[in-house]
């Protein structure tokens, strides 16, 4: 589904991703772990199409097409979804109006008929239950006045509505207490299907107790330095990143 090949990218002339390669197949959950500054959020931003990142090398293929040539909205319509680390508050833009417009754009791109207001609201009711999200929040402006936990749940709720093929969760666990974390993880798990894939980007292993990854990759200094199964996350929890940082530094010298 997703083929990242030797990807290099940076911001303001500073290279952050330095030849990153990763392959994600349908039905899989991959976790990207790494210390602060290793390039995790850059990877999420590059995949979603953030303009501030310049891709300097490599390629990203998504379902057979080149992802990097697409505008952010074209990526969304093709089935890429980014759950933001810091969802932005957008005063004056009603959550429901926005999400209905977004869903119908995605449906149009998939060749499906647009949903009318009644169909959309019944979908919303069903999905808010899944995320234990107060439906009253959706009559408010996008993320405005939402608590940290509500914002993150709202991200996963939007994901549930849009049904992406590839979901990228950027530090979705940050700022969540354990109960909210369980709700969010539960939501993600319920949305797992054989035909979609999830990329979980996280600093801590904690989230991976609830979203069990098939693969864990360690990102250090813009490269994946180690990959393994879910047990790698536990090892990182126990030993920290230092042993890998040292190895990476030694590697760089040679």
């Amino acid at each position: 589904m997703l083929e990242i090949c030797n990807l290099s990218a940076g911001v303001d002339g500073r290279e952050i991703l330095k030849g990153l390669s990763l392959s994600v197949a349908a039905g899989e959950v991959h976790a990207i772990m790494g210390p602060n500054g290793s390039g995790k959020s850059t990877l999420a931003g590059v995949l979603a199409g953030r303009a501030e990142y310049a891709v300097t090398g490599g390629s990203v293929t998504f379902n057979g097409g080149s992802l990097l040539e697409l505008k952010p909205e074209e990526r969304a319509r093709a089935g890429v979804f980014l759950a933001f680390q810091y969802p932005v508050e957008i005063p004056g833009v009603n959550s429901t109006v926005f999400l209905k417009a977004a869903l119908n754009e995605c449906r149009k791109a998939r060749g499906e008929p647009e949903l009318d207001a009644v169909e959309f609201l019944s979908l919303v009711r069903q999905k808010t239950r899944l995320l234990e999200l107060d439906p009253a929040l959706l009559s408010r402006a996008v993320n405005e006045g939402f608590s940290g936990g509500e914002k993150k749940r709202n991200e996963i709720f939007q994901m549930a509505i849009l049904e992406p093929k590839l979901a990228i969760l950027d530090e979705t666990d940050s700022g969540l207490d354990i109960d909210a974390l369980k709700v969010v993880a539960e939501g993600v798990n319920k949305l797992r299907r054989p035909d979609n894939a999830t990329l979980v980007i996280t600093h801590y292993q904690r989230l991976l107790n609830y979203i069990i990854p098939d693969f864990v990759h360690v990102l250090i200094a813009g490269q994946i330095v180690k990959s393994g199964g879910k047990e790698l996350a536990l090892e990182l929890e126990e030993r920290g990143y230092d042993w890998l940082l040292e190895a990476a530094a030694a590697n760089e010298k040679t």
Binding site: A48, G49, E73, L82, V88, V142, L162
Partner: protein, 442 residues
């Protein structure tokens, strides 16, 4: 290359009589003396130039090159079909003025014996001038305002509305000013007087629009007097053609515990100068000044507001939003005066501007002069672009860039539109703004 601004400044201001020849407008002896005083002021004030602090950004000089003349009917018949698209008040009353002339045949007037009085100011001056004497020309100061003085000296007609004590008028009254002349340079000095007596309540919509593309000047003055506990929602909609010059002065004088909700929505004219002012003249008076302008290529939109807290325990809330596209220019100047005895004043002013183009310029200046010590006054002014992170967020969910921009521009305008309680006006603004936003999203 010659500095054109310099050249303009050095030009002598034209004498008012040359600028505007003609007899003083009609009215009884007391009004004639007011008119004479006003005409006398013209020479002393002088035609405003960009050297005057109050007109620094708003250059009226092009008017002096116009073939200005008092608007007259050019013979083209204007009937109900031309008026209908501008009618907003639904079942309410409507006073129609074509090129400044009252058209009772196109108007919907209150019946005889109705509590509400609404009709031609000129007719009222002929029939029953007594009630007018203590209001007309007394509220809108012309000592330093050239265009208000011009209006006071020369106005021919306008609307007179009076709500008796404790009368609640549910249906809005619309004042519809249509510029119909095809001959460039027609000038109309429209004069409105709105009286809401103690405990009365009224909603007024002032609409200014053009039926042709010819350049014209509207110089409108509206005086508002609110008695104790009176309430007025006053909505000014200016959508004249983009060759027009529009100068407006609104002056309210508020009694004890009165409430004035003022909206100024400007989308039209090449140059629009709006002076919106209120005098909070007795305890417990409250004013909400709500404003929105949308300027596109070639337009200048200027709002000067004055909230004068003359008495204690009054409140004012001011929200002005500007949206600038293309090569446009916005000006906001918000004065708040708190007089020495106006303790416990609560005054708040917000001016937010959204600049959509590199070629647009916004000049904003809050001006607070506070002479009392136990007061709460805040102000804030911002000039910014669309939030890039919000744009990316919307696009990352599947909206294209134009849709995302439109949503954000719309949200910015809606903050002001939502304060309008009149549903027909809100619906009209929805359509107007939606149409106007087409093309701004890029």
């Amino acid at each position: 290359m010659m500095d054109t601004r310099k050249q303009m400044e050095d030009e002598p201001a034209a004498a008012p009589d040359a600028f505007f020849p003609g007899e003083l407008g009609p009215g009884p002896a007391w009004l004639q003396s007011v008119r004479q005083r006003a005409r006398g002021r013209l020479g002393q004030i002088g035609f405003p130039t960009v050297r005057d602090e109050e007109w620094r950004f708003t250059n009226m000089a092009p008017l002096l090159q116009w073939p200005l003349h008092a608007a007259q009917s050019d013979g083209r018949p204007i009937g109900p079909a031309e008026v209908k698209p501008f009618r907003l008040a639904g079942q309410g009353h409507c006073l129609v003025f074509v090129d400044g002339f009252f058209r009772p045949d196109l108007s919907v007037l209150p019946g005889r014996g109705a509590a509400l009085q609404a009709g031609s100011l000129r007719a009222q001056l002929e029939a029953n001038p007594r009630e007018l004497e203590q209001h007309l020309g007394c509220h809108a100061g012309f000592d330093t305002h050239y265009f208000t003085a011009l209006n006071t000296a020369f106005f021919q007609d306008g609307a007179f509305i009076s709500v008796p004590a404790d009368a609640i008028i549910e249906k809005p009254v619309q004042l519809l000013y249509l510029a119909a002349s095809g001959r460039p340079g027609a000038a109309v000095h429209a004069r409105n007087l709105i009286l809401v007596h103690g405990g009365g309540s009224l909603k007024v919509i002032e609409t200014y629009a053009s039926l042709t593309e010819a350049a014209h000047l509207t110089n409108a003055v509206t005086e508002v007097s609110l008695g104790p506990g009176a309430r007025l929602e006053h909505c000014r909609l200016q959508n004249e053609n983009e060759r027009a010059f529009h100068v407006a002065a609104v002056q309210a004088v508020q009694g004890r515990g009165s409430h004035w909700l003022s909206h100024s929505i400007a989308t039209g004219a090449r140059l629009a100068r709006n002076q919106i002012q209120t005098l909070l003249n007795a305890e417990g008076a409250e004013a909400i000044l709500n404003g929105l302008f949308l300027a596109r290529d070639g337009q200048l939109m200027d709002h000067h507001t004055v909230v004068d807290h003359a008495q204690p325990h009054c409140e004012s809330h001011e929200f002005y939003h500007g949206i600038l596209a293309g090569r446009s220019h916005g000006v906001f100047n918000g004065k708040i005066f708190v007089r020495p005895n106006a303790q416990k004043t609560n005054a708040k002013q917000t001016n937010r501007n959204l600049v959509l183009s590199e070629n647009a310029v916004m000049d904003t200046k809050p001006q607070l002069e506070i002479f009392a010590d136990d007061v709460k006054c805040t102000h804030g002014a911002t000039v910014g672009q669309l939030n890039g992170e919000a744009l990316f967020y919307l696009r990352s969910r599947g909206l294209d860039a134009a849709q995302a921009r439109r949503l954000l521009i719309r949200a910015f305008a809606d903050g002001v539109v939502e304060r309008v309680t009149l549903a027909p006006v809100r619906e009209h603004l929805e359509q107007l703004l939606t149409a106007r936003f087409q093309g701004l999203e890029r």
